[in-house]
Amino acid sequence: MLGRGIVEGMLETARNFLGSYVSRERLTTVQYPEERLAHIENARSFPFLVYDGADWQAGMRCVSCQICEKECPPKCIYIEKSVDKKPDAVGRPQNYPKVFNIDVSVCMSCQICVEVCPFDAIKMDVEYELGAHDRFGGLLLDKQRLSKSNEYYHRIHPTEAAAVDAALAEERAKMQAKQQAAAAAAAAKAAAPVAATPSAAIPSAPATEGKA
């Protein structure tokens, strides 16, 4: 009593006042936008589509399976499947999305789309300066705005991207091994009855793979 608690409190404030001129601990302001906080690796803001290589349309990993659309809790993803096919990240010919829209004003950054995607095609971005002048059109990100390269993915989430690349490389290796085995088996089958048939069946060439 007798004012001692008040005096202690005022000393504490004085310590913070003087300390703010001396140590960064006691002056934690970051003067945005001139300074920015260091980017934390695992942070997430909104999804983006990963593409391998230089061409965002040819290298897009998304095969339009629409699993993320179904699992998204606020239903902010809108996908329209294409009719034709193109090779995906491991080389199999698959559909691709003709339309892929994410309404960023509805998205709640829950990351469930990333979790359920079997093709490592959609990942979380860290971009948060997404201001737009148009509330509806400006915040509806289409396929082109959503597509960012694998190099970008490595820059923002290096550990995760490295793991994904390793997994994809493994899959591609398996795929290649399977195709070579299939080609060898077909060649063997074609070579065996060469005496029976006059013309040898020419084995079909393996499909070209899109390498990163």
């Binding site: 009593m1 007798l2 004012g3 008040i6 409190g9 005022m10 504490e12 404030t13 004085a14 913070n16 006042f17 703010s20 001129y21 006691r26 002056l27 934690t28 302001t29 003067q31």
Partner: protein, 394 residues
């Protein structure tokens, strides 16, 4: 030495020089007008600086910068605030009493400015040298309470009425300890004239000045006066009338635009005026703290002390939560008032006891013992308040 005196008296000489251009019969009026204009300009600038100082000071106490965008170190922030206040729409409630609603902030600001008439800012630099300067000061500061109540009543809103009631009760209750604390100085000085009081404190024994704050009764009186002054200007921890988090600005809730700014000007000017009076009564007015520092101009010392007291106000605001209404009243009537009465006794004894360590001991004990007793027995609304120990479950 003459150089220092020249600097010290430069405003007085400037005044004489400018007034010489006016025909003789108008000279007193011109001199007074010049003085008034100077006081207004100086204290309004000081107000702007205080606002900035407060925001930056509070910011630093809270581990952040204050405003620093508008000019280097935010210097132009008060200008920006002023422009904002002026260009805002002036919304007056339809059912409000328009005349009174308009006059309330005007009255507060006028009363606040009138206070500065008797403050000696430097040697020979008081606007008027009234024989009853202290009395004039306290009479004028009571006008502010009238303005506050006018504001609350005329707004015709529940929240503002609340705030006005609380403000009036608080301000009237704290006038009494403030006056009694000042009376101690008047007793010793034997005069109500502010210039005489400062001149009495401007003498030195060796290096130590004869400031009244350096005596037991003066120190107590100063502390009591400052606490009462905080309550008079509705500053934290006594800012319940403008209890921001409950009734959202209390008695000036229905004001917007420039009138809102006028309330703030009134509050800060009141704060500065009571600080100035405290400096005059207890801290030796314009005199230097050590005899060897007298080369610094006297008006400079006055402003240094004023800024120091303002920093004290800001420090208290940044640290302390606010008191509740009944606790406020209890504090004033059951603690401050008895302490000021005890202080009067101590002052009287000091005057009549012979000079030496005995009078220090007696007066010191006379002040400290009631403080301890009153402080311990203070109970807020009949309940004891104490630090507690907690047990843990087994």
């Amino acid at each position: 030495m003459t150089r220092a005196v020249a600097v010290d008296q430069m405003f007085v000489t400037l005044n004489h020089a400018l007034v010489a251009y006016v025909p003789a019969v108008w000279r007193p009026l011109a001199s007074a007008v010049l003085g008034v204009v100077t006081v207004m300009v100086v204290f309004l600038t000081l107000f702007a600086l205080t606002v900035l100082l407060e925001r930056k000071g509070l910011g630093r106490m809270q581990n952040r910068y204050g405003p620093n965008r508008v000019g280097p170190w935010g210097i132009l922030q008060p200008v920006a605030d002023g422009i904002k206040a002026i260009i805002k729409e002036d919304v007056v409630p339809q059912s409000a009493d328009h005349a009174v609603h308009f006059l309330a902030p005007v009255l507060i600001v006028v009363a606040a400015f009138l206070n500065y008439a008797v403050i000696p800012v430097g040697r020979g630099m008081a606007l008027t040298d009234l024989n009853a300067g202290v009395l004039f000061f306290f009479a004028i500061s009571s006008m502010v309470e009238l303005g506050v109540f006018m504001a609350g009543w005329a707004s015709r809103s529940k929240y503002s009425l609340f705030g006005a009631m609380r403000a009036i009760a608080q301000m009237i209750s704290y006038e009494v300890p403030m006056l009694l604390a000042a009376t101690a100085t008047v007793m010793v000085a034997g005069t109500l004239s502010t210039t005489r009081i400062v001149e009495m404190q401007a003498t030195y024994t060796g290096q130590i000045p004869h400031w009244f704050v350096l005596t037991p009764w003066g120190f107590t009186g100063f502390c009591l006066f400052m606490v009462a002054a905080t309550a008079e200007s509705n500053r934290s921890p006594f800012d319940l009338p403008e209890g921001e988090s409950e009734i959202v600005a209390g008695y000036f809730i229905e004001y917007s635009g420039f009138k809102f700014a006028l309330f703030f000007i009134g509050e800060y000017l009141g704060m500065m005026a009571t600080s100035a009076m405290a400096i005059t009564l207890f801290l030796g007015g314009w005199s230097a703290p050590l005899a060897c520092l007298q080369w610094f101009p006297t008006w400079g010392w006055f402003f240094v002390k004023l800024v120091a007291l303002l920093c004290g106000f800001i420090w208290m605001r940044g640290t302390l939560p606010r008191l509740r209404m009944d606790q406020l009243m209890n504090f004033s009537w059951k603690f401050l008032l008895p302490m000021t009465l005890v202080n009067l006794v101590a002052t009287g004894l000091w005057r009549f006891l012979p000079v030496g360590w005995e009078r220090w001991l007696i007066c010191g004990a006379l002040v400290v013992v009631p403080y301890a007793l009153l402080g311990r027995s203070i109970n807020w609304q009949g309940r004891k308040v104490a630090v507690r120990r907690y047990r843990y479950a087994e």
